[in-house]
């Protein structure tokens, strides 16, 4: 089966990101396709490569990054959600004349069309709400 996931919760604030990560791992472990993970609302903070959690806690950005590299996942943060919350890549930092960028690879910034495309392309869209 082909799954898509959307994440609404910010990392470490509630269970949304942790559950989404665990679900993504389970989908892949069971041999299903994961079409895209779309980060919306505070979920965009999952893509911040400058998060520095204590060593005895899960590194959510690092976990998403490694999972994406291992399985060639498409990790997309919503551009509107990300820009207003200060999650940007070097291209957007230059466009908006900001002094820094924090969106880590392999996360990419794109529009809401990617959420709709995921909803229409996957057999199941699973939303991890707050």
């Amino acid at each position: 089966m082909r799954f898509a996931i959307t994440v609404h919760g910010g990392p470490y604030t509630n269970q949304s990101s942790h559950s989404a990560l665990n679900f993504a791992k389970a989908v892949l472990h069971e041999g299903h396709d994961l079409y895209r993970v779309f980060f919306y609302h505070d979920g965009v903070f999952n893509g911040s490569e400058i998060m520095a959690p204590p060593q005895d806690e899960i590194d959510l950005y690092g976990e998403w990054r490694q999972l994406a590299l291992d399985h060639e996942l498409d990790l997309v943060v919503c551009i509107a959600s990300a820009l207003r919350r200060g999650v940007i890549n070097p291209t957007e930092a230059e466009r908006y004349e900001k002094s820094a960028a924090n969106l880590g690879k392999p996360f990419t910034i794109s529009g809401l069309g990617q959420l709709i495309d995921a909803a229409l392309s996957a057999d199941r869209l699973v939303t991890f709400r707050v």
């Binding site: 959307t6 609404h8 069309g113 959420l115 709709i116 869209l125 707050v130």
Partner: protein, 119 residues
């Protein structure tokens, strides 16, 4: 246009969080690609209240944008009779026409759509 049908569920009051506003953005985008409908569920019905004055909360009064849904091809906005009654609201309090259904019919409504996007 995809032949799949999307149902967007808005279940939060406006202005206390950004879920309603960002959910509406998703609805407008979805309408460009597929047949879409919206269910204003529970406190989500408050997003449609007329004459909101949100300047005191430093948030945008996006309720007016619901008026554009028809132009975007969104066929139906549903709300639940019990949600209105419990909040002492009537359809005339709302910025757009809605299709009122009974709470008992919500499950079958959800079942009518291929994909639910829940905010």
């Amino acid at each position: 246009m995809s032949d799949r049908q999307l149902l967007f569920v808005q279940s939060r009051a406006p202005h206390g969080s950004l879920f309603g506003q960002e959910g509406l953005d998703a609805i407008l985008m979805g309408s460009a690609f597929a047949t879409c409908a919206v269910l204003m569920h529970g406190d989500g019905i408050y997003q449609l209240i007329r004459d909101q004055r949100s300047s005191g909360t430093s948030t945008r009064d996006y309720s007016v944008s619901y008026g554009a849904l028809g132009d975007y091809g969104v066929e139906t906005v549903f709300c639940v009779q019990e949600d209105l009654t419990e909040r002492r609201l009537v359809v005339d309090d709302l910025v757009i026409p809605v299709s009122v259904i009974d709470r008992a019919d919500v499950a079958s409504l959800l079942n009518d759509y291929n994909t639910i996007l829940d905010f």
